[in-house]
Amino acid sequence: MSDALFEFLCRMGDNTLVLGHRISEWCGVAPVLEEDIALANTALDLIGQTQLWLGLAGEVEDKGRDADRLAFHRDVWDFRNLLLVEQPNGDFGRTMMRQFLFDGWHLAQLKGLMGSDNDQIAAIAEKSVKEVTYHHERATDTVIGLGDGTEESHKRMQAALDRLYPYVGEMFISDAVDEEMVSAGIAPDPASLRPGYDAMLDAVLTEATLQKPADDFAHKGGKSGARHTEHLGHMLTQMQWLQRAYPDATW
């Protein structure tokens, strides 16, 4: 049980960590100042949530690893994030499409976790859901604004959707860890979140004048750790550089 719980908490924390780092890459180079600030703020929320998830993961594991140690002293094969969040930023449109596709799942997952039998998980979810509601609202507005925008912005958003949609399916695929979480009353069944997500996606994409790809093929291997894309390793060389060069350095 505690192994599966640790695994589950790493999945939650690694999603927010990897996406938080990815969008912080925009800091100082976003298209306009307001978007720069918005992306950095979203990154800050996600990194804050990471401290809570990975902090709890470390407690559950009980081997003396805290959130920092888990974030900076593990290599690619130990990360349990979805493949979607490790994908490179691309242009601003692709970054916002990735955010929108993730936020829709993230919000539904956190709402489910608010009813968790594990009080600590329910409390983190209750805290996070307020922040993520805001992320989802902003990402939705941006996807609609750019999708139903100029010819150029529409073309870029459709390209972003075509590229990222194959990473959506992984969010709803269950494995043994999920089954254990469901039977312990800790987390919702991933498959149960799909109908609501699809309805949300269809409504927003229609308004954004974007076409959902017909093929439901899904890449997987991120949340199980079996096979990450090549991008995660490159990202970690940046994110973990200091701890790799100077192990255990502190402020």
């Binding site: 307001e34 978007e35 600030i37 918005a38 979203t42 209750e126």
Partner: protein, 155 residues
Amino acid sequence: MVTEKPSLESVWSWLSAVPDPEIPVISLTDLGIIRDVQWRDETLEVTVTPTYSGCPATSIINLDIETALRAKGIEKLTLKRQLSPAWTTDWLTDTGKARLEEYGIAPPRPAGGPQHCPRCKSTQVEKISQFGSTPCKAQWRCQSCLEPFDYFKCI
């Protein structure tokens, strides 16, 4: 020498004099983030809830609480983090809201936007961005006096 523990009322009043590090016109008690103060035997336990999970002011706030209480002679002190119930802007005191407005930050409203420009009081205002200079604020602009201003997000 007989020493008595300071009363909880005294501790609350000391905490009400500690300013928020990012918005110094309001205090930590105005912000509504001090959830509880209790004596556990000889140790004072202060329960704090974060505004936003990644707010960088959180660690400074803890340091400021510790500094303020140590200055009052509290030796045994623990700070407890409480996530649930999650902080909401409903816990901002009316005094706090009034001070925000005087300072030029429009206070939060359940309607989701500022009532009026904190400077010229015009109701002709528009949203520039859902995010602002700190996690708790959004950027708005007054269409009458044309000044941009911060709005304290309602959560």
